[in-house]
Assembly symmetry: C2
Homo-oligomer: 592 residues x 2
DNA sequence: CTGTTGGCGGGACGCCGACAA
DNA sequence: TTGTCGGCGTCCCGCCAACAG
């Protein structure tokens, strides 16, 4: 396999793709160099299974490998720009796979390398297992990013939105870019307020506002927006129904990223970024199907098994069961790291989404599953309800609509909520403004990361022991590449963890008993010569960050929590190694 | 103004647009014919306000008017094909407006003219006022169409979907076309079942299924589908949670339309099709904002006033107040017409949508408005609720989710429901398979069209007197052009009614007291020389089809109703006249 | 070894009048 | 009067080697 960051020439309309010599020789079928200008047709499939054909020619003076015909079509279709990267990967059976990775649109035009080369205080890493063992809080740095994910919301945007009420009839503005025009403000009116999916995420403010756009040109756009995405319109309608918030928001727009910056990946080959599993995670509310125990294809099965193995156990960890209304205070052992390296933790994003539905905790599962059997489905969400106050909507915001209290029922929710609490950073950094909080479901993500040990998991219930106790090293990668192209929603940086060959072998074929948190749930079975010997690699387990499955948090508490400036929560990563390539390759080789 | 159906040459990449001589002379600014090849730059705005520039040149031997530069860009952007039509319209102030109309994708490739030229039994028209006066049912033919609206669902599809249960985890297939591929089947899994918007349309099956697509390529597609859009997957998962329906549906796919057929509009100029107001209606569930009494622009204001004037009154019409559970039986005076002409009734579609929210009926408004004032909004939907059975969802289909009963509250809904009952046709026609029922909210639309008289409406409460009593003629147009281009969602055929100049004048400036149902709520004030004298035109009022605002229908009754094969409900129309042009022009001239 | 550049061939676009319906 | 066609100019895409870092 090889990965190359695209140059201006590679992406210009003027020519083709210059293939590094070694890459072509290693990865492409050999050419007949006796010919004057040897060439062949290459065919490679991307993660979607779409096949791309290229003319591979060896020519020029001096001779070099080029992809010509077919290349520009690929660039155009994928909307690649210089700084993006492509990865070619040849499977054992000789067929070629193809992936792309979008360039990071680094915040404020700061070169990514600048961020990465900041000093890493490795010593503080030790505080993480300490924090875990003492069930206290530790912090994770989250790399600043410009391309905001739909599911990661700048904290200041969110907290500002808390100060305003939104009512039907209210006019608003929102900035975005359409196919036809560059980014500008569009206006509209709020025509409804209510949960996007009250069944699965009751009380979520995520796209809770139903709107109508003034202009036809954006009518086919999503007609639901989130409160933090909009600004109040300056023109307040003369209406006695207007729920005035008093203050006219003047949105402080984030500085626009510098798109021309090629975020070259200094760290090596882990910059390959497409992962089906990962995107599933990121898609979160829109695409997640973890609600269901049914699976339709191998990938889903893997997901399912992964979730089942990893998640329920977390409930048995003491730190994950916080009492009703109890908010964990920051421990004295939290640490801050400055990240280097890339990648992103699948679990981390699961936490940040905060809205996905996991299987019911173990003590409720028997009943739940039986209910499902008896009733023909829908077990995953039965019993989801909340009081008027609980679900985070002030009464007046909900009208007489969705969240009617089910009277006479005790307060209990089987839909776990994840709340991450951002702590005040004691290590001020210059780019703290670029931090992102998260604002889903319960509008916060509250503390409580843990780590599930890939090799010490027992029978579907994880112990709370730290992987560090086994001399493993944990890597949590955190860089996210948002996709520029909706069709390329999968072009996201996968978590890159180093897994020994042994661990890989161990991770296979163990549906029960000693199970593992497999990376994305895929068995990492493809091993190549790239990985020479396992003892040359820092052994590490595939890591899962646990999430607090506290079911008893009162959502109403969200409004009561004092919002402090978010801490820079940062994971630390390693520079890319050969093992990183292994993971990437395994991901490429997975069944689609 | 002029309208021209595009020829193959007009839309080919080879050249420009040939402007009919008369059209250019009438509509475009004059050229300096003394020059060898006179030309000018034309600028026209479409309904979105987007400006299009064209080079207008007079050349060739013999001389002719052409649009060259800029034309192909327009064709490409609008995705026009031969058979589509463009309309140029010059306002009084001289500025040019521009509209397009998509060609009808006529069902089974049948030329539209064939459908249109079928004999029209004008005599049966008389039965309509008779039916109205006796408060009995009459029928409306609905023109067959291939491009199914999202909001008009083939009856057989809907009724089939009733025979199947849908549960979380169920696998399904669905046919559609993506940007990248022609129509084919995509597979997915149902991951949730619940109302799309429980606040405004509780119990609606419209897009009630939350799904996850197997393929990434369609992941960014709408993740909610309606039961009638999907087929069960052949591969039933081995799962004890599966709510087996037993039968494996084999969907009878509709014959594909013949896209090459240029549906030339024999009927003249009423084929202009873009109307903001109309599209608002058609957008229905997705874009309607009638919920709110607040308005943000003149158009919305017009809409609002129209609704307020027309709708509440209908509640006072005897036929509109059906008792709980009472279903009107077909009267003996229902009629069938075969339609000619084009256009579509705004009200008709409002009825078919069945899901929009109107202001509360008059007897509830005082309370409602006060509630709004006291509570800061959301008045339009307060009190919306229903029992578990009532809202149309079997208990098992809803899990413990949205529609929790508000215990101790009497059964009452301020969200009016519209139910249209299709009757058995006694006039079989060859293309009856192409009929469309409707499947929104209460899954039926039950009887009860009425007509509000544009000139005889009093004080916000319509009388039930028929306009025919005043020697007016009613036209209900019914042809719908679905848009091929999402950005052109507005490219829909507007209702075309003939309105006398007098009626137009009467319709203006009467906010209270003697009010009217204005066409779309727009005052049709633009009068041109095209309309010569009112007595040369068949006088007609702008017609509104009333809809049954029965508030007490038990939604559960939907399932109990026996479904009969739908009748061909057809409106009759007139071939296009100058008056039709007037309407079109008025629509073009309206503020955007 | 490979990124960039100029050369250049080919094809698509689109402006033109000829021609014919 | 106007729909279609062949002619042809222009532009851009993309294949090529030269050249330079």
């Amino acid at each position: 396999m090889f990965c190359k960051t695209l140059t201006a020439s590679d992406t210009s309309t003027h020519g083709g793709f210059s293939v590094p010599r070694r890459a072509a020789e290693d990865c492409f079928p050999p050419l007949d160099y006796k010919q004057q200008r040897p060439w062949q047709e290459l065919s490679a499939k991307d993660l979607h299974g779409v096949e791309w054909k290229f003319r591979h020619i060896y020519r020029g003076q001096p001779r070099r490998h080029l992809l010509t015909t077919g290349w520009s079509a690929f660039v155009n279709k994928k909307k690649l720009v210089s700084g993006d990267a492509v990865l070619f990967l040849r499977g054992d059976n000789g067929d070629l796979k193809l992936g792309i990775r979008r360039a990071a649109q680094v915040k404020c035009g700061l070169p990514f390398s600048v961020l990465c080369t900041q000093s890493l205080n490795v010593g503080t890493v030790a505080a993480v297992p300490a924090a875990i063992s003492t069930k206290s809080v530790f912090s994770i740095y989250y790399n600043p990013r410009a391309n905001s994910s739909q599911f990661i919301i700048p904290f200041h945007k969110y907290s500002k939105s808390l100060n305003h009420s939104f009512s039907i009839g209210m006019r608003f503005k929102m900035r975005f870019e359409t196919d036809e025009a560059a980014e500008r403000r569009y206006m509209g009116m709020i025509t409804g307020v209510g949960d996007l999916d009250p069944l699965r995420w009751p009380g979520s403010k995520w796209r809770c506002l139903v709107v109508r756009w003034d202009e036809d040109i954006v009518r086919n756009r999503q007609n639901r927006v989130s409160p933090w995405d909009i600004e109040h319109s300056g023109s307040v309608l003369a209406s006695n129904h207007y729920l005035a918030s008093g203050s006219k928001r003047t949105r402080t727009d984030l500085p626009s990223p510098n798109p021309s910056f090629p975020a070259s990946n200094q760290a090596g080959l882990s910059d390959f970024g497409e992962s089906l599993g990962f995107q599933k995670v990121l898609q979160g509310q829109e695409y997640m199907g973890f609600t269901s125990p049914y699976t339709g294809n191998p990938i889903q099965n893997h997901h399912q098994s992964e979730v089942r193995k990893c998640i329920p156990g977390w409930n048995d960890m003491g730190m994950a069961r916080m009492g009703s209304g109890t908010v964990m205070q920051p421990g004295n052992s939290y640490v801050s790291y400055k990240g280097i390296g890339f990648g992103e933790s699948v679990r981390f994003h699961k936490v940040l989404q905060g809205q996905e539905i996991f299987p019911k905790p173990s003590h409720e599962r028997a009943l739940g599953d039986k209910w499902v059997q008896d009733n023909g489905g829908f077990g995953a969400n039965n019993g989801v309800h909340g009081s008027d106050v609980e679900n985070g909507w002030p009464m007046m915001m909900r009208g007489g609509s969705t969240h009617v209290r089910q009277s006479g029922t005790s307060l209990q929710a089987s839909s776990p909520s994840s709340v991450l609490r951002f702590q005040q950073a004691n290590t001020p950094v210059s780019y703290s403004n670029s931090l992102y909080g998260t604002c889903h479901q319960k509008e916060e993500i509250k503390n409580s990361f843990g780590l599930c040990n890939a090799s010490k998991t027992l029978g579907g219930t994880l112990t709370s022991s730290s992987p560090y106790g086994h001399q493993d090293t944990v890597e949590v990668f955190n860089s996210l590449y948002a996709s520029k192209d909706q069709n390329e929603i999968g072009s996201l940086r996968p978590p890159v963890s180093h897994v020994t060959q042994k661990a890989l072998r161990d991770s296979q074929g163990l549906p029960t008993g000693r199970s593992v948190c497999r990376l994305f749930g895929f068995s990492l079975e493809e091993e190549t010569d790239v990985v020479n010997r396992e003892d040359t690699i820092t052994p590490i387990t595939s890591s899962c960050i646990t999430e607090n499955l506290n079911l008893d948090i009162l959502p109403s508490r969200v409004e009561q929590l004092q919002f402090k400036p978010p801490v820079l929560i940062e994971t630390f990563g390693r520079s890319c190694t050969k093992a990183g390539q292994l993971i990437s390759q395994s991901l490429m080789g997975m069944p689609i």
